[in-house]
């Protein structure tokens, strides 16, 4: 049996350890569109081509200028005058021959005029350095076609990202600090039987000190419950008393001094973990209450059929609890005791998963569909998530703007929110003057006045009573719509990772506006 890996396995080894083979497969089936091959865009694509997305298509009508070559790694000195989509595709393509690179020498506005359905074929569309009007048009087309849209911008020392997606389902969120699923507050029958099989008082010394802490806690919880009216320790005082009970369980030697029993130390340390209530977390409850879960049809995506099946399970076999996760943390114990305990959880998890599958099957039969498992390789009920990032038209609408969010952030006039307001203001400026402020030195001073007017009219239009300091108006004129490479590189990394999350349905994307302040090296996420 050859375990030597294929070249692709070797090449992608370091990332496969993060999103697995199924995540990689999703990447390799993706086709991403980039609108505008400015430095921010090519940096994003670099970070998607390297890990092996299936294909990319760049849409750009610009001709390469000397300025472009200065800040874009994927243009060389002989690119000047060429179409920018074409020139950058060449140098991006050669990063990874597994990836298929394409380009369209066209202005996105023209494409929107003549063939808006062009954009329907993509897994994701990313637009960088795009004027507001075109961005809104494109946003509308993509929203109606349910194609995720990621807007990214580098403006001087400010980075901006906006995710627009009707409904994004996360099958594996991989939380950093997930609570263990031990069920000690409501042990399932097989767990209870397993615990009962232990007789702590009459065990040999070696066995006693190599019994998993989970068993120890379970045993002593039984004792506690008998003496406390079947109530688990609820508050700090009771938990301390419970810890003391455990402490007293440590075997003593002939002189009466406690032996060293590290498993008991672990038990005492883990009392809080052990007493975490086994309930359905809020984010999953929200999924259960969603309309898409309630109404399963033949159009329902696999994710929602799964959620419904889990809800059915919770209401039936689960008796109010989610399917058992089946994994336990490592703990001091001899191999046999640990493995047999682990197997109790694992087997229960398999049974629960089978019950969920049966619910899935019955729904599919009811709506006349066959198989859905292809898209749901690994799932963990507690880690399912859904993210909704509302349409641009709502963010921009006078009646639907998130006024409160903006105003409360601006209680701190140096909040990153002011940078968002400035970006909206320079877009107003562009609308009025067909250029951005301060591009040439001689414009800077006069543009400060003009930009300030744009700020005021923006705030007035939306009824925002906030104070935008003059310093920020000055600063944004200073930027002259520059795109310094290092800020573009930062945004390239940030945006690419969000794109990967969208494509693989693993890890949770941001919702929905991210601002990076490269001056202060701070960032913030807003829901706008």
């Amino acid at each position: 049996m050859a375990d030597h890996k294929t070249n692709k396995d070797q090449r992608y080894d370091r990332q496969l350890r993060l999103w697995g083979d199924h995540g990689q497969e999703a990447l390799e089936n993706a086709h991403v569109c980039l609108v505008n091959a400015a430095a921010s865009g090519t940096e994003i694509l670099k970070n998607l081509v390297l890990p092996g997305i299936g294909a990319f298509t760049i849409v750009d009508g610009h001709r390469v200028s000397g300025e472009d070559v200065g800040n874009n790694f994927f243009l060389s000195s002989d690119s000047v005058g060429k179409n920018r989509a074409q020139a950058t595709t060449e140098l991006l393509q050669e990063l990874n021959t597994d990836v298929s690179g394409n380009f369209v020498e066209e202005n996105p506005d023209r494409l929107l005029d003549n063939d808006p359905e062009f954009f329907h074929r993509f897994s994701l569309v990313i637009a960088v350095q795009l004027e507001e009007s075109t961005c809104l048009r494109l946003g509308s087309v993509l929203w109606n076609a349910a194609v995720p849209f990621l807007v990214c911008r580098t403006y001087g020392l400010v980075g901006y990202m906006r995710l627009v997606v009707r409904e994004h389902t996360v099958v594996e969120s991989h939380p950093d600090n997930a609570l263990e699923d031990l069920r000690l507050d409501q042990p399932f029958p097989e767990l209870t039987n397993h615990i009962t099989s232990y007789d702590l008082d009459n065990m040999e010394k070696k066995d006693h000190s190599h019994t998993p802490w989970v068993i120890i806690v379970a045993k002593y919880l039984q004792k506690w419950c008998r003496e406390h009216d079947f109530q688990l320790p609820r508050n700090y005082k009771e938990k301390e008393a419970f810890r003391q009970l455990l402490r007293e369980g440590i075997r003593k030697n002939e002189n009466g001094t406690p032996e060293e029993e590290e498993n008991f130390d672990e038990a005492i340390k883990n009392v809080n973990t052990a007493l975490n209530p086994s309930k359905v977390c809020v984010s999953v409850e929200d999924l259960f209450n969603a309309e898409q879960c309630e109404n399963i049809t033949s159009q329902s995506p696999a994710f929602w059929v799964m959620v419904r099946a889990v809800r059915d399970f919770v209401q039936a076999e689960g008796r109010g609890s989610l399917p058992v996760r089946g994994t336990i943390p490592d703990m001091i114990a001899d191999s046999d005791k640990f493995i047999s305990l682990q197997n109790v959880y694992r087997e229960r998890a398999l049974q629960d998963a089978a019950a969920v599958s049966r619910h899935v099957e019955s729904h599919l039969q009811a709506v006349g569909k066959v198989c859905i498992w292809g898209t749901l390789h690994m799932w963990n009920a507690a880690f399912l998530r859904v993210v909704h990032c509302r349409a641009l038209v709502e963010e921009y609408g006078v009646d639907t703007v998130h006024k409160d969010e903006i105003t409360s952030c601006m209680d701190n006039p140096d909040s990153e929110m002011v940078l968002y307001l400035m970006l909206r203001s320079v877009d107003c400026f562009y609308q009025q003057h067909s250029r951005y402020p301060g591009v040439y030195n001689y414009q800077v001073e006069d543009d400060i006045v003009r930009l300030k007017l744009c700020v005021h009219s923006l705030l007035q239009e939306y009824g925002l009573t906030v104070n935008v300091k003059d310093d920020y108006v000055h600063e944004f004129c200073r930027y002259g719509a520059a795109e310094p490479h290092t800020v573009a590189a930062f945004m390239g990394g940030a945006a690419a990772q969000e794109a990967i999350k969208l494509i693989t349905h693993q890890f949770v994307p941001f919702n929905n506006t991210f601002i990076y302040n490269a001056m202060a090296q701070t960032s913030a996420t807003f829901q706008l």
């Binding site: 000047v80 969120s173 310093d471 390239g492 990967i500």
Partner: protein, 439 residues
């Protein structure tokens, strides 16, 4: 169409994106900044930067620096290119596998960015001395080892000049250090002698996970335990590829052997989960890595450089980043440690009873969270002569000095208040300790 390249090698508009920041004043620039056309010239012609590491971070750093106007860049890396680098180290291609990273990276940048002159060094950082490091205005690290970082830190501290106890600012070379792991990363600015150094915050680095030997030897529970059993116990015993042949994590045949043995061990204890990928990960201590995190961290560095170049003491000198769930950044001021063994110039103390064995001192040096030495060599002046009490790194000396480990400090002739000099891979300079006897 060929660019009209002027006599400086630049074309029209090349540096326009950068110039706006160097030539225009702004309300948020720090107090010492004067906009001028000369700053760009300084970057292009005079400023000398050293990049340490040409891997995931290094490639990104070289690109960012080159496109920001830095032309005189040196890069040091002792490694050659591996296939598993190609998913993120974008200056390398399949045909480059086996070649030195520093050299291939330099060639790529020099040809893609005209006028940029990257000088490669296919060497270990320890192969250079003060005269090499002194020539740089700034040093940026994209290293994958804490030991190397500490060594670099120590080197820059050794360059500091004090006039009558006052630090001469022109002897400070700012150090910008970045690191990434999966979806997490950090970047920090260190002004040696002024701000927190690497050793000041040693506790921020989580200790490496080593499973207890008794678990590995007799009570395995996880697939990792089975793999460590094969690596640590079976390999030295069975010497499957010959006497003295060390386990090489890059040799597929070696990994295959460990994998098979791990499977056997796992089967014995009914442990599931041993895979080839896990085996390789455990043996090589592989850290998962992607292009995007490196891009983000490297992207923060040049801003920090601008801060450091103008010798402006940053308030928030340490940035952390995590994009597992949304995106999260946080910056804070890492504080100097009053008695830091590297930068405080406060003599380090060792408190032991005279009856303590030298072994205990050795353990303290390696296990203490603030010291974390790897293989310290201890010398003392006895009867006017320099005597090596214990040294591990040379086999013959190790053998000769090993009996000293069982001797007490008193037996070794050490006195209260005596100075012990300790050398270690974590620092280019010897650390002096003062021995205080406790009763």
């Amino acid at each position: 169409m060929a660019l009209d390249v002027g006599s400086s090698g630049d074309w029209d508009g090349r540096w326009r994106h950068v110039q706006k920041f160097l030539e225009r004043s702004g309300p948020f620039t720090h107090p010492d900044f004067e906009p001028s056309e000369e700053t760009l010239q300084f970057l292009l012609e005079t400023c000398k930067i050293l990049v340490i590491g040409a891997g995931g971070l290094g490639c990104e750093l070289l690109k960012n620096l080159a496109l920001s106007g830095f032309r005189h860049i040196h890069v040091v890396d002792m490694d050659t290119i591996d296939v598993s680098n190609l998913n993120r180290q974008f200056l390398f291609r399949s045909k480059d596998v086996g070649h030195p990273k520093a050299e291939v990276a330099a060639d790529f940048i020099n040809s893609r960015v005209p006028g940029c002159h990257v000088v490669p060094h296919f060497k270990k950082i320890q192969e250079f001395d003060e005269s090499f490091y002194r020539q740089f205005h700034i040093i940026v690290c994209g290293l994958d080892s804490i030991i190397a970082r500490r060594w670099m830190n120590g080197m820059l501290l050794s360059l500091l000049v004090y006039d009558d106890g006052v630090l001469d600012p022109s002897s400070i070379i700012p150090l910008i250090d970045g690191g990434t792991e999966g979806f997490k990363g950090n970047a920090r600015v260190i002004l040696p002698g002024m701000t927190a150094c690497i050793d000041c915050t040693l506790e921020l680095y989580p200790p490496q996970i080593n499973f207890p030997m008794c678990t590995i030897a007799s009570m395995p529970r996880l697939p990792e335990h089975c793999i460590e059993y094969a690596r640590i116990l079976q390999w030295p015993k069975e010497k499957p590829f010959g006497d003295g042949v060390a386990l090489d994590g890059d040799n597929p045949e070696h990994i295959h052997w460990v994998f098979q043995k791990s499977l056997e061990r796992a089967a014995e204890f009914n442990i599931i989960g041993v895979t080839y990928r896990l085996t390789q990960g455990v043996v090589k201590r592989i850290i998962p890595a992607v292009a995007s995190t490196n891009a983000v961290i490297a992207g923060t560095v040049p801003s920090r450089e601008n801060t450091a170049l103008f010798a402006y003491v940053p308030l928030n000198n340490y940035l952390v980043f995590n994009d597992v769930d949304g995106l999260y950044t946080y910056t804070f001021e890492a504080e100097r440690k009053e008695n830091c063994s590297a930068c405080s110039q406060v003599p380090q103390k060792l408190q032991f009873p005279p009856s303590a064995k030298l072994q205990e001192v050795l353990e303290y040096l390696t296990e203490n969270a603030s010291l974390q030495m790897k293989s310290p060599a201890i010398t003392a002046t006895l009867e006017g002569k320099n005597k090596t009490l214990y040294l591990q790194t040379v086999a013959s000396i190790e053998e000769k000095t090993r009996p000293n480990l069982c001797k007490t400090l008193k037996e070794l002739g050490l006195a209260d208040g005596q100075e012990l000099a300790v050398a270690d891979v974590t620092t280019p300079q010897t650390v002096l300790f003062k021995l205080n006897f406790t009763s």
